[in-house]
């Protein structure tokens, strides 16, 4: 059933794609047909896998670092209302700066290698994670905190034993968003300057009019993003269910 639900839209998209190529008589270097891309996908599988691994490493490292830093920041802000008042607008302002504009400078600071891509990914996911977790921390369900205060709990222990566990769903929804954004960060970083990764490969293929390889890399990236999102989503659901059972 699930296979069928996926199969039909994919077939429709492929048919539209093939239709456009045939009707508009596109030359292959402008828009290659699906079969040609599938062929390239197969013949260049080693190359694609190699570059996909680099991108995946950047994404996972950025995701782990961004989630960790977001967690620490949100808890820090929740512990200190003063700091929250001071830093929250700064955090929002940081989101007003387009991350794309920062990519060249990150390459300058962290080098041509994997470091600048991880930094880019981290920057893109840091805000959604911090913001979702912080908002959840500041809105514990009514009653729990009052009960904890009557029991004589210190603010730090109330945070640790009540507010953080109660806010975990908020953190997880931030993490789900982050899983979708993270590949964007990594590929952006690769576009600005890299020698490896799917973003680099797409740019290279484009420059040499190997449009079929560009599309193949794009497909791999899309599948990678979907798989990551699904894995994180499944992981979050399993964690939430296990916690309450």
């Amino acid at each position: 059933m699930t296979a069928l639900r996926l199969f039909l839209p994919v077939m429709l998209a492929l048919a539209l794609w093939q239709g456009a190529v045939t009707l508009l008589a596109m030359p292959p270097f402008i828009l290659p047909d699906p079969l040609r891309v599938a062929g390239t996908l197969w013949t260049s599988r080693a190359l694609l896998a190699d570059h996909a691994m680099v991108t995946l490493t950047e994404v996972l490292a950025g995701l782990a670092l961004g989630a960790g830093l977001g967690w620490i920041s949100a808890v820090g802000l929740a512990l200190s209302p003063g700091a929250a008042r001071l830093l929250r607008p700064l955090l929002v302002f940081s989101q007003a700066v387009p991350v794309f504009a920062l990519a060249p400078i990150l390459t300058l600071w962290f080098g041509y290698g994997i470091g600048s891509k991880i930094a880019m990914t981290l920057l893109i996911i840091y805000f959604p994670v911090t913001s979702a977790f912080f908002d959840a921390l500041m809105r514990p369900p009514a009653g729990w905190e009052a009960m904890a205060r009557v029991m004589g709990g210190s603010p730090a222990r109330i945070l640790w034993h009540i507010r953080i566990p109660a806010a975990l769903p908020g953190f997880l929804s931030g993490l789900r968003l982050a899983a979708v954004y993270a590949p964007i960060g990594a590929v952006l970083g690769e576009w600005v300057g890299a020698s490896r990764g799917l973003g680099y490969l797409m740019l290279l293929a484009n420059g040499r009019a190997k449009t079929d390889l560009m599309f193949a890399a794009l497909l791999v990236l899309a599948v990678l993003t979907l798989a990551l999102h699904r894995a994180v989503d499944r992981g979050c659901l399993a964690l939430e269910a296990r916690r309450l059972r």
């Binding site: 009653g143 729990w144 009960m147 004589g152 709990g153 222990r157 309450l244 059972r245």
Partner: protein, 240 residues
């Protein structure tokens, strides 16, 4: 541990509107006092004023212990909602107070308490798997384990079936003997059965009603208990 008396005087307001008062409520130290009244009379707010968790309700007056020392740290509150933490098992829920204070009471103690409340062997379960009545008993166990001289109970037996309710009332009456208990209820039979003293909060005023002569917990079907239940029911009807 000596159980202090409780005294609440003054007028309570919610956003400028008078909730109750001016009144003068006194609970003698070491006694079980039942506070009866119709819904919305301010019974729960009165408990929260004593516990210091009143939120939007303000008191123009004072809520304090008879011995003059602060109440903070000497009160256990069982609120109307069970407030169980869904991610902790029952034993850890019962012991949450100790954890919040940085100590660690034994799991065996929590298990024994569950056992006495008819929840034997359920310590490792999570609250999500429980019925309303079971959850209420766990909340009561948590309140009892706090081991405080002043205990504030807000409808603590409302979700229990008749047989369980009587058993749990007996257990609580024995466990809390010698402590100052203020027990909010809207059930006249419960007040007639458990109260060393009975107070009626209606129309913003407190009124003392004589309890049956024998010591609580009283037999639910004893003539004196039944007649007190009838009398309290009549008073509640008149107040409504």
């Amino acid at each position: 541990m000596t159980a202090p008396a409780l005294r609440l005087t003054g007028t309570a307001r919610v956003g400028g509107r008078v909730l109750f008062g001016p009144l003068d409520l006194a609970v003698p130290g070491g006694e079980w006092c039942c506070l009866l009244g119709p819904s919305g009379a301010g019974k729960s707010s009165l408990l929260h004023l004593l516990a210091g968790t009143s939120g939007a309700v303000t008191l123009d007056g004072s809520a304090r212990a008879g011995d003059g020392a602060p109440l903070a740290g000497r009160v256990a509150l069982m609120a109307q909602t069970d407030l169980l933490l869904p991610w902790l098992d029952l034993c850890d829920n019962i012991r949450i107070g100790a954890r919040l204070r940085g100590t660690r009471p034994s799991r065996a103690q929590a298990e024994a308490l569950l056992d006495r409340l008819g929840l034997a062997g359920m310590g490792a379960r999570k609250p999500g798997a429980l019925s309303g009545g079971q959850r209420q008993r766990v909340a009561l166990a948590r309140t009892l384990l706090e081991d405080r001289p002043v205990v504030l109970l807000d409808e603590p037996f409302s979700a229990l079936d008749v047989a369980t309710r009587l058993a749990v009332q007996d257990m609580a009456a024995h466990a809390l003997r010698g402590r100052t208990v203020l027990h909010v209820t809207h059930d006249p039979a419960e007040a007639a059965r458990l109260g060393d003293s009975i107070l009626l909060l209606a129309g913003g005023q407190i009124r003392a009603v004589a309890p049956p002569p024998d010591a609580p917990p009283r037999a639910p079907d004893a003539t004196a208990t039944l007649s007190a239940t009838g009398h309290l029911t009549r008073l509640l009807l008149e107040a409504a």
